[in-house]
Symmetry: C2
Subunit: 487 residues, 2 copies
Amino acid sequence: MSRISTKPPSGTRDFLPADLARRRFVVRVIEEVFGSYGFVALETPAIENLSTLLGKYGQEGDQLLYRLLHRRDALTRALATAGVGEAELADQGLRYDLTVPLARVVAEYRELPRFFKRYQIQPVWRADRPGRGRFREFYQCDVDIVGADSLLAEAEVCAATAQVLGALGFKDFVLQLNHRQLLRALVSAAGIDAAQEGTALVAVDKLDKVGQAGVQQELTARGIGPQAADRLLELLTRDPAAGDRASIDWLRAELGPTPAAALALPALDQLAALLELLAATPAAAHVRLNPALARGLSYYTGPIFELTLPGLAGSVGGGGRYDNLIGMFGSQPIPAVGCSLGLERILLLLEERGLYPTLTTGPDLLLCWFGVELDAVLRTAHALRAQTLGGRGLRVEVYPQAAKLAKQLQYATAPHATAPHATAPHATAPGVGLPAVAILGASEASAGTITLKHLASGQQRTVPLAEASETLQGLALTPPALTPAGS
Amino acid sequence: MSRISTKPPSGTRDFLPADLARRRFVVRVIEEVFGSYGFVALETPAIENLSTLLGKYGQEGDQLLYRLLHRRDALTRALATAGVGEAELADQGLRYDLTVPLARVVAEYRELPRFFKRYQIQPVWRADRPGRGRFREFYQCDVDIVGADSLLAEAEVCAATAQVLGALGFKDFVLQLNHRQLLRALVSAAGIDAAQEGTALVAVDKLDKVGQAGVQQELTARGIGPQAADRLLELLTRDPAAGDRASIDWLRAELGPTPAAALALPALDQLAALLELLAATPAAAHVRLNPALARGLSYYTGPIFELTLPGLAGSVGGGGRYDNLIGMFGSQPIPAVGCSLGLERILLLLEERGLYPTLTTGPDLLLCWFGVELDAVLRTAHALRAQTLGGRGLRVEVYPQAAKLAKQLQYATAPHATAPHATAPHATAPGVGLPAVAILGASEASAGTITLKHLASGQQRTVPLAEASETLQGLALTPPALTPAGS
C-alpha cells in the first residue's frame, strides 16, 4: 500500500515542543534586549505582491521566489496566453526577506515615527536547494533604525546585537567593522579599475575561506594584475594585532594624497568615530576593524559589520548602513542602518555548545488518580492550577483516562517529545519526562490532601492540597535520598 | 507616474507595533492558560505537500488552497503537458488549517507522548473573498487532546477554553453543548430519512440567524415534510429555561422505546456526565445544553460545543470529539477532542468592548541630549537600560541625532505608530506617545545625574543616574500638578 508521506516538505520543519521551547527562549532573549533599546516589533504578511518583490534580490533571487498560482478564471486566462510562463501564472509570492517588506511599510504608513526602530522575527521562503542548516522556510531576525543619518544609529544597532549574543552566552564573538567607501577607495588605490571593483570584492569576500594566496589567485583569475592584487591585499590585511587606531593611521598615511584618499578619509574618520562610540557600549570588548570585510550585498553605503565566532566559517549576523534602499517605494531616499541575526545558525550553535539553560517544555506535574470520581479529579486539577510556581501558574496535566496507578506513574517518567531534527534527523535523544507527580486516591480526596512525589529523588509527601506548590518546590530542592533509579 | 502599491495584498495585513502589542497580549494569555492545563506548543511549516492537503476540506476547500507554482524545469515540463491545469502546475501549497498538520505530525513522530496535548497558534491561508473580519491570511488557535477517549478530555478542553475567555475579560460567554449522535438520533426520531440528515442539519445550523420559522421554511425547501420539520424543531428547541438535566430527562422520555433511542441514550448519558464534570471546572457558570447546536463540520463523532456571546452572531470558538480524523495518515483511528478559538474575532471583540488593558508598545522613555559627547550619551543609555522597571529592563530610546532639545521633546510627545486596521482601515487613532523623557545636558553629564520628566504630569526631577528607574516610577504615580496640556 502506498502511503502518503507524513514528513514535512523538503527544506521545511515541524517544531515539536522541546524544539519550540529552545526557539522561544532565544526569541525572548532577543526581544528583551531589542526592547530595552527602544526597538518595537513589526510583522508583515507572508504573501506579498510580486510587483513588490521582483527585481529586489537580483536575477538569482527572482528565481528563488515562491509564486502563488492563479486560481479559477485567472488561471484559465493565463493558460490561454500564448507562450505562457511564470509571469502570467502568478502575481503574488511569499516573502523572501524582511527588508523589502520594511521598505513597503515605511512607504505606506505615514503615522510611523520619524525614526522607526523596528525588529522583525518571522519566517521567509526561498526555493533553494535544501542542505544542512539551509532551509526553504526559515526565520530571519532583523533589527533596523530607519530615518537617522548619525553614527549613533550604527552604534545602537551594533550594541544591541552584541548584547543579544552576550545575553545568549556567547563570550568570544567578534564584531568586525569596515566601511563600504573605504573598501571602494582601497580597490581604487590598488590601481584596480572602477569597472572591476565588483569582481575584485567577490574575490576579497573569500579571504576567510581561501586565505591570502587563494584570494590572490582568484583576483588574477578575474583579470586583475598581480601588482594590483598584491597591493590590494597589503592594504586590506595589515596585522590586526597592531590595533585598530594604528591601522587607521597607517591607512591614512599609505593613501597619502592619492585621489582615492578623498573617498577613504571620510570613511576612516567615520570608522574612528564609530570605534570610539562602541567603546561606550556592550560591544566594546568585541569590536575589531577588518578592512577586508566585504559582505556580499551591494546595497550598503557606509559602515558595515559582521558578527563572527572564532573557528566558525561564515557569520552569525551582519549588517550596515544602506541609505538608498528603504526609500525605494517612495519619492526620496531614507537613511537606514540595520543588522540581520542568523537565527537558525544561532540556534544550532547554542545546541552544539551546550549553552541552553534547562528549559521546561511541558507541565510541572502529572495528576494521577484512582478510586475517585472524575469531578473530584477536575476539582483537584483546578485547585492545583490556581497555585503559582516561579511566578507563573502551576502546570498540571491530568492523566486523561482511568488506568492502574503504576501505568500512570510510568507515563510520567517516560520520555517526552523531543526535537526530531535538533542535531540529526530523528535522533532519539531522551526526553526530560516530568519532574513530579501528584497522586489523588480516595484517602486524599476525603482528607483534602494530595500526595506529591518528586521523580528524580523519589521523595514523597502527603500535604494539604493548598500547600502543593510550596511542597513541590521543597521536594525539588531536597537532595536525592538514594541514587535515582535509571540514572 | 504609476507607483507600485505599498498596501499589503488584499486579505492580508501588516501588524504595526501597537496592533502587535494587543495580539501578543492575547496570545500570551492563551498560552499561559493552555500551559497550566499541560498543553504544549507545536508549530508546523506554512508549506505542505498538496498530497497532504487535498481532499481534506471538501471540494470548496480544495478550491481555496493556495498552490505554489512549480519552477524552472518542473514548470516547463508541466506547461508542455496536454490540457495542463492546476494539478500539473503545483504539488505544494499553503497550510489551510491546523488540524491536518496535526494529523500528519501525529503519524510522523513516534516519540510523541501517547496523550498528546498540544496547542498551535499560527497563520493559515485561504484564497477566499476578503471582507470585514475575513482574511486570506489569518491566525488560528487550536487546542487538542489526541489519544484519549475519556470524557475527561472533553472536560479539560472545554475548561481550558472557557478559562481563556474569562482571563481575557469576557464575563457573559456561553459554552453551548450538544452531541453529534444525539443530533443524528433526533433527526431520525423526527422521521427524516438518514439520506437527508446532512441537508437537514445545514438548515438547523441556521437557527441562530433565521429563527424557528426560517428553519422550518428551509427544511421544507430542502424536501423535508412539514410534520417531520415540526417534530424536529420541537425536539431541538425545548425551552432552555427548564434546565439542562430536565431537558435530558424530557428527551429520554420523548424518544421512549423508538429505534432512535438506541443512538440517543448513550449520547444523552455522555452529555449528562459531561455536564456534571464541567460543573467542577471554570466552565461551570457558562455551560448550556443546546440540542440544536449542529456545527458545520461533519467530522465530529461525539460531544460538540461552541463558545458564544449574547447578541453576537456566530461564535468565538468551538470544537468537539472527532475520533476518525487524526489517524487519517496512519493505519488506525486515534481518538481526539479539540477546540479552535476564533483568534481574529476575539481580538476584534476585545477592541470593540474596550477590554484591553493599557499595553506599552514602545520604550519607557526617550533619552534627549545636548551639549555632550556621543559616547556619554551611549554610556548613559547603557546605564539606564541596566536598570529594571516592573520586572523587566528599562526600555530606552536614544534620540538618534543631534537636534535642539525642544525638537527632541516634541518628538517624545508626538503620537506613535498605531494599528492602521484595528477598527477601520487607516483610522488615525492617536498614539500613546512616550510616558517620560530623560534629559542629559552638560551639567548632568559632569555630575553623573539625569533629569527625568514625566510627560503627562509635567513633573521633573534631577537625580543620580543610578536612581533613574526608581524616580521614574515615583513620578508616574504622582498625580499631575496641573491639567496636562492637550488632554
